[in-house]
Symmetry: C2
Subunit: 194 residues, 2 copies
């Protein structure tokens, strides 16, 4: 029963999603990444695009602007609603059976589960920049700018909903530098911990 | 030639030293921990006690007091002298052959070496408190207080001499929670990365 669930948090462009998919394939268990977005869409009625963006990222602009944006008279926002659906879906999936869950604060949502291995994947900026150009193609802004913006908004989202610091070593059972260790070695280590 | 050197940074009481010793024994390479202090003592003339304390810990009290303490007219301190000896000994050992080096900012000192695996070992406060009472016995202050004081002074020392944040995930190839994974599993993973 140990480490029945693996949650993977990752810096943008670190290959954390690929690590998750490959670990799941190796272990013969499902990996929830895009599938998570589909399930949340079904339950919540939010569009896939809204969920992909607002279920993991603070909005652009300042922290304060982000915290206050889209709030109604009572201080609620659509993003808060989405958080509740996201949390519910992740808890349900974790009850259903062994799996890998990528992103969406699953490490925090499942932090009290004994059989959960919490993982963070990171890499240096240069290797990540190279990876996102290969994976997602060229864009008008530099890859470094995209990376920094994505990480900053992921960190802000995480901090807002979990009151923990994204990427702080204490939140994880293991953190891996995919740039120096290689994707394959990361997969091997995580599979060995299952 | 990959990962010929393993540097282990660790939270106080996490068992990082034990992990280092056991990995080294498994790989049949030397582990420098207390031995490092002996070598630095030989080269520098400082006492073992001074090196143990001031080669890894900022002094008690505020950060500013620590940064300014013991400095002469030119702004130099014995601690700076010790840092230079420590740095020299660590660089020499790393040149000499494969080894495990525990603590003393070795991760930073060897950061430009390609064949160096940088590791951080941590654990939750409760497990560490239990461990230090078992290992080092009861003391007048609570184990939690001792842990926090030690970690705080290690972090301050590290930050002062390296200008990096101690325990920040980006400084390491791998971080391991020895409390949740167990010492034995940590040893196994690190040996597999050699």
């Amino acid at each position: 029963m140990k480490n029945r669930i693996i949650t993977i948090s990752r810096e943008f462009g670190s290959g954390g999603r690929t690590v998750g998919r490959e670990v799941a394939a190796k272990l013969g268990i499902p990996c929830y990444d895009h599938e998570l977005i589909d399930k949340i869409a079904e339950e919540s009625g939010f569009t896939r695009e809204y969920i992909a963006e607002r279920g993991e990222y603070a909005s652009h602009g300042s922290w304060l602007a982000s915290a206050l944006s889209d709030r109604d008279y009572y201080g609620h926002s659509n993003q808060d609603e989405l958080w509740k659906f996201q949390r519910k879906v992740i808890l349900e999936l974790a009850e259903k059976g062994p799996c890998v869950i990528v992103g969406r604060c699953a490490d925090y949502i499942l932090k009290d589960k004994q059989d959960c291995l919490s993982v963070f994947i990171h890499s240096d900026l240069e290797k990540r920049a190279q990876r996102i150009v290969e994976q997602y193609g060229e864009r008008p802004e530099t890859p470094q700018k995209r990376l920094k913006d994505k990480d900053k908004r992921r960190a802000a989202y995480y901090q807002f909903y979990t009151e923990r610091k994204w990427g702080a070593v204490q939140n994880y059972d293991i953190t891996l530098n995919s740039g120096s260790l290689g994707i394959e070695k990361c997969v091997e280590i995580l599979a060995s911990l299952y």
